[in-house]
């Protein structure tokens, strides 16, 4: 496998401009002759689809939900970053770039991240023009808030529903193109295979989720915008349908998977209440702006929080990180919470897995009305789920799987190792290194979709020309057959355990051994337990109903089957990386104070894994990371 990141030469700030000039263009009158498939309608997919159609390409779009508007981007709460410096507090493109590189613990590519910071400002302009009702100051200008990992205020937001508003605007742009006939939309369709002909991505095979029909779709290029694999842990803040299937099947067809072990655990989620728990709910990190996180100083203290006096509380983030305090980055905050709970100071009804997030000081200082204006909907949500009123009782939070920095490997053009297969949004690995900063995923999704891939895909199409391959080609038929056989096999097992119960069991393994902290023995154990569980799955899963109708249990089983294979690559990756960096914390590699210890000399690279057969260790390729514009430093948020 060849790994050329295609990073343009020249000074950092000029690379993207230079590259745009050097890229080939498709003649406008020829654009409609090129067909592009996009899988996914989140921020990345919807924005790319609308932009392609506006340029004149012939576009087909797929998603598994009943409407493109329901992609999981809709759930993002907190906000989106941009280097506008509207607050005059010293922000700049370079600072956003630097914060993102540093936040990612120096495990991302300089050139990609710099470009992301550059286009961040265009995103805000675009969204405002589309009618996104961002929060405003009384004078009518845009308001900002601060987010973890940054000391400037650069996050734009629409109440607690930023993702919803950004997605609805991209969805509107997409619908306008559907109405004009340039986009054909296929909702309730799940991609189950990528078709590669003569080493190029030529199309996909999908299952219609209503009638079970398997069909093939050919194109000149395929774009995956299928989101992250956070549900590998079973419990996560992701929607129930989020999966690794599309990315994983592309991996099996030859696309390298990069940094699968970089998974982000979000510090502020509502704790688990029981074994039946189906998902975890995130409380926006923006709460940490005004909230203070603490546990009782006494182990196993069962007094209600309001009865614990000030001097008997341990504000552990403020204590350990005096300059960032409650705004320390996500990985640090999550690990600190886990540490105090593991040590027996945790609170709440389920296994003491919780810490307090307390806004009572802010309520006293600012008044209930201001807090209501800022966080009203989050407070309501918390009360709905827990039955507690956060205006009176501090909230309880615990870390949960939230975001996956790892993803399919892409070059500077966002193309995978399979020519013609592009990957955008959370599904790729490109910009966040070993840890993502808050409010940067929305930025990346829209940057990829609106402002990067419309150029780079043109370059690819112009250079590779039209294809004459259609969906009757034997490779498509072969893929359809594989997919049909897998469905048949799943339905024929008729064992004793449901797909959900396998997923739950598997989630426990991954959370335990490849979650917030990892060690060699645990990872090796996981690598024994996962194949055994997978084996059991294929002999003992029970699915009722048929494949030729709407069958949600069958859909789930297919996704679980892929997670059960994918989990192993995560563990191999975590095992290989004998250092701690960002969200990847290897217990063997920490400083005396218990902080992550990077090993730049040996691990300053992207791990890109090549499929080598199910159950076999994949082949590791290394893309070295070169830093010319920032000095590698030890992250310190003290």
């Amino acid at each position: 496998m060849k790994f050329d990141a295609q990073i343009p030469s020249g000074p950092l700030a000029e690379k993207w401009d230079k590259h745009r000039f050097e890229m080939k263009l498709v003649n406008p009158s020829n654009k409609r002759k090129y067909k592009i498939i996009i899988v996914g309608t989140g921020l990345a997919g919807a924005s790319a689809a609308a932009s392609f159609a506006e340029l004149g390409y012939n576009v087909s779009v797929f998603c598994y939900q009943d409407s493109p508007r329901r992609a999981h981007s809709i759930a993002a709460q907190g906000g989106i970053n941009a280097a506008k410096n509207y607050q005059n507090d010293g922000d700049s493109i370079f600072r956003l770039f630097y914060d993102t590189i540093k936040g990612g613990d120096f495990r991302s590519r300089e050139a990609n991240v710099y470009r992301l910071a550059q286009v961040s400002n265009n995103i805000i302009d675009q969204c405002v023009a589309q009618g996104v009702p961002f929060a405003r100051e009384y004078g009518g200008t845009l308001a900002n808030r601060s987010f973890g990992g940054a000391q400037v205020s650069r996050t734009f937001y629409a109440r607690g529903q930023t993702g919803q508003q950004l997605l609805l605007s991209a969805y509107s742009a997409l619908l306008r193109q559907i109405a004009s006939g340039k986009v054909k939309m296929y909702p309730r369709s799940e991609m189950l295979d990528l078709v590669v002909v003569n080493d190029r991505a030529r199309g996909i095979v999908v299952r219609n989720l209503i009638n079970g029909k398997i069909s093939s779709h050919a194109a000149d290029a395929v774009v995956l915008a299928t989101g992250g694999y956070g549900n590998v842990f079973y419990l996560s803040t992701n929607a129930k349908g989020c999966n690794v299937t599309a990315a994983y099947r592309a991996y099996k067809k030859g696309a390298a998977f990069a940094n699968p072990c970089y998974t982000q655990i979000h510090p502020t989620c509502i704790p688990v209440t029981g074994e039946y728990q189906s998902k975890l709910t995130l409380m926006s990190e923006s709460l940490r702006n005004d909230g203070r996180i603490w546990v009782p100083k006494k182990k196993g203290d069962t007094r209600p929080p309001n009865e614990i006096p000030e001097d008997e509380r341990d504000y552990f983030l403020e204590r350990k990180y005096p300059s960032f305090g409650n705004l320390a980055p996500r990985d640090i905050s999550s690990r600190s919470a886990k540490e105090v709970c593991d040590a027996g100071y945790g609170v709440g009804h389920y296994k003491g897995k919780g810490v307090y997030l307390d806004l009572s000081d802010a309520i006293k200082r600012l008044g209930v009305e201001v807090i209501k204006d800022r966080y009203g909907n989050l407070f309501d949500m918390y009360e709905r789920i827990t039955g507690d009123n956060p205006y009176e009782v501090p909230m309880r939070i615990y870390p949960a799987s939230h975001y996956t920095m790892g993803g399919l490997w892409v070059d500077y053009n966002l193309m995978s190792t399979i020519p013609g297969l592009f990957v955008i949004g959370e599904a790729n690995f490109s910009d966040h290194g070993a840890n993502r900063l808050g409010a940067s995923a929305l930025m990346q999704g829209l940057a990829d979709g609106y402002f990067i891939i419309p150029y780079t895909i043109g370059n690819y199409l112009a250079r590779s020309g039209n294809s004459d391959i259609n969906a009757d080609h034997s490779e498509f038929k072969a893929s359809e057959k594989t997919v049909e056989e897998q469905t048949k096999k799943l339905l024929s097992i008729n064992g004793k355990k449901t797909a959900d119960s396998f997923h739950r069991e598997f989630g426990h393994i991954i959370w335990e051994y490849c979650g917030m902290s990892r060690n060699e023995a645990g990872l090796k154990k996981a690598l024994e337990e996962i194949p055994a569980l997978r084996e059991e799955f294929w002999n003992n899963v029970k699915i009722v109903g048929s494949g030729s109708e709407l069958n949600q249990a069958l859909e789930r089983a297919g996704r679980v089957a892929d997670f059960l294979e994918f989990g192993e690559i995560m563990c191999y990756d975590a095992l290989n990386r004998k250092e701690s960096c960002g969200a990847h914390f290897r217990e063997e590699y920490q400083t005396e104070e218990g902080e992550a210890k990077r090993d730049d000399k040996h691990y300053s690279y992207v791990s890109a894994w090549e499929f080598n057969g199910v159950g076999k260790e994949p082949i590791l390729h290394k893309e070295p990371l070169v830093f010319e514009n920032v000095k590698l430093s030890t992250r310190s948020y003290k």
Binding site: E54, D66, A75, G131, M381, T498
Partner: protein, 248 residues
């Protein structure tokens, strides 16, 4: 707690459908309503019965996918709450619960509790957008927008497109859904240029899809999990009236 459920089962769009009775055993008050259904479904699978199909995804009240009629109320008894966020503490041991899909001519049933809401996407296609292409737009701060207008726009834009308003309306009207989108854009300077055309096209398309008309029952507002106000319907009616008077 133990509950008795009556659930609408219908194999596909052609099937006639019927209510079936199931027991929900060992349910705890911390469970969400959908988690209760998960538990029932696991049970059904073990009994070789096809699990109950229901739509859901985010399970945090924002994607608008979940859509159940519980004892005749869209999203169930708790105000301003989608069914995925409804928790079992609102029920008590021994309760009988009737679970049905949204019922409306414009939302045909797909299977069991799942309906086809693509009519909403088509209404949006008719005009629910601001026609700007990617790129070439002015700086975001070049047009100031008063906090009041931005807040009004956001109040309207909070709609999650779940369709509870239609399910609640005796006429199965989609007026609240359209009013929310029309009011969102009409409150912002960026929405002015297509303001008149938008409202006319969206309403015309609503009629085409077979939704009923609004005769001021206001059941929609009561059922809306995002508490979108019926004042937006009044606003849309004014918009529509003005647009019809002045032509384009």
């Amino acid at each position: 707690m133990n509950l008795t459920l009556y659930v609408w089962r219908q194999k596909n769009a052609q099937d006639k459908g019927r209510m079936e009775k199931y027991d929900a055993k060992n349910i705890t008050s911390h469970m969400s309503f959908l988690e209760m259904l998960d538990v029932v479904n696991e049970d059904l699978i073990h009994q070789n019965i096809e699990p109950i199909a229901f739509d859901h995804d985010c399970r945090e009240g924002i994607c608008g996918t979940c859509s159940l009629m519980i004892n005749g109320i869209p999203h169930g008894p708790q105000r301003a709450t989608t069914v995925c966020q409804l928790h079992m503490r609102y029920f008590k041991d021994g309760d009988t619960i009737y679970i049905e899909p949204w019922r409306s001519r414009a939302f045909p049933i797909v299977r069991d509790l799942i309906v086809d809401r693509s009519a909403f996407d088509r209404i949006m296609q008719a005009g629910g957008f601001i026609s700007v292409n990617t790129g070439g737009v002015p700086d975001a701060n070049s047009i100031p927008i008063s906090k009041k207008d931005a807040d009004t726009a956001m109040d309207a834009a909070a709609c999650i497109g779940c369709g509870a308003c239609v399910a609640a309306c005796p006429n199965a009207s989609a007026m609240l859904f359209i009013a929310a989108k029309v009011s969102h854009f009409a409150s912002l300077p960026q929405g002015q240029i297509e303001r008149k055309e938008r409202v006319k096209k969206m309403i015309a398309h609503m009629d085409k899809e077979g939704f009923g008309n609004c005769t001021n029952y206001y059941e929609c507002e009561a059922a809306c999990p995002k508490e979108i106000s019926v004042k937006f319907i009044a606003k849309m009616n004014r918009e529509y009236f003005k647009a019809s008077l002045t032509g384009r």
